[in-house]
Structure formats: C-alpha cells, structure tokens
Symmetry: C2
C-alpha cells in the first residue's frame, strides 16, 4: 500500500505508513492500562523488597517488617496493594498472617529486570 493509502490515520502527518503500522500493533487501552498498573506496582523499592523477600519463603507480616526495615503500618499498606494486584496471597494462622507470592510471572519479571540493570 502507498503512503497515503491508509484509512486508519486521517491526520496530516509525516509518515502515514509508519503510523498505520504502529497503530495496527497497538494494545487496547485497557490492556495498556493494566500493563502500566502492573509495572507501577513493581516500581516501588519497598514493594520490590517485599516481593524479593517472599520469593524464597512464606513470611509473616512482622518478619517482613524486620526484613524491609519499615514501619508495620507502611508494610501493611503495601501488602494491601500487592494483594489487590494478586501478586501475593495470604493465610491466617492465629494472630499472624503469612504472606507468599501468588504469581510466577512476577519472579520472572523481577529477575529480568535485575538482569537489565546489571547489564549496563
């Protein structure tokens, strides 16, 4: 198809063909949003620490507090966010609540990210 033979992009622009191609490959707005929200959740040092700590073992909240060295309240707030995104799950045992990773993809994402920052 020629540069102007494109019905997806109507605006006057520099390279209609490129724009068409890019638009064709675009994610839906909803998927884009979900993807952004996933990464946004991973984009906080405290949550990364929590996820890493949980990656090898189940931990109760007070253990997590000791590991990440933040206030119990701050940790609980972050755990809530991680729960909301279904990245961690929990199990109650008496007064305590044991948290663990609920999603294998997360481990992969984290290690992929680690590999990235180590390669430059």
């Amino acid at each position: 198809m020629s540069d102007r033979d494109c019905d997806v992009c109507e605006q006057l622009c520099e390279h209609p063909l490129n724009i068409c191609r890019a638009k064709a490959d675009m994610l839906s707005d909803e998927h884009t949003q979900q993807l952004a929200e996933l990464f946004k959740i991973l984009g906080d040092p405290t949550r990364i620490k929590i996820l890493r700590a949980l990656s090898t073992q189940e931990l109760c909240v007070c253990d997590i507090v000791a590991v990440v060295q933040m206030g119990q309240s701050a940790v609980s707030h972050q755990l809530r966010i991680l729960r909301g995104a279904r990245l961690v799950k929990y199990r109650k045992e008496g007064k305590m609540v044991w948290y663990s990773i609920d999603d294998d993809h997360i481990e992969i994402l984290l290690s992929q990210g680690i590999e990235h920052i180590q390669h430059r």
Copy 2:
C-alpha cells in the same frame, strides 16, 4: 543453624531464621532503587504506548505523537525520560529526530508483562 544463631538480625522478632534467609538474599539498596526506577518508567500508559510503537520500527517524534494521540510536548517529555533511562536512542535528521528502542531487555519485560495480564 539454630533460630537464634544468627548475627544478621539482632532485633527481637518472631522468626529469626526466616528473617536471616530473607536478608541474605536481599538486593543492595542501590540495585533495589534502580530496579524500582526501571519499573516505574514502564509503569505509565503513555510510555508503554511509545515503547510498543517503537518496538517494530524507528519513528520520528511527530509520528509518535500521532500514534499515542497525545500532545507533542507531553510526548517530548516522556521521550526525555525514556532517553534518560537509556531505553530509547535517537538520531537527528534535519529538523526531525528519529527514535528507536535502545534495549532488548525492555521488549522481553513488556511481553512478559503482557503475558501476565492475559493469564488472569
């Protein structure tokens, strides 16, 4: 080692052994920070759209503007952030600037993330 035979965690806490293990596996503060910053950058719909658009081809700024449907200024600001993180590179050609992906890991991270959101 016994539950109390641990010099890493000195505080009185519930499960010292667990805490020791978790602390031993921890990333350095600097790496944690860098990792969080990487994910934070991926945690924005506009930047995701830009990166996805660039994943298959080089694009000039005005094409990116057309694809992501945001103001030129907003796009330039986001490109600056992506440049700063070395996720994209650019090349000038007359008045125009052509952007492209500067890091293969990013593609992997993005597709991993997409896989994640599609699997639930």
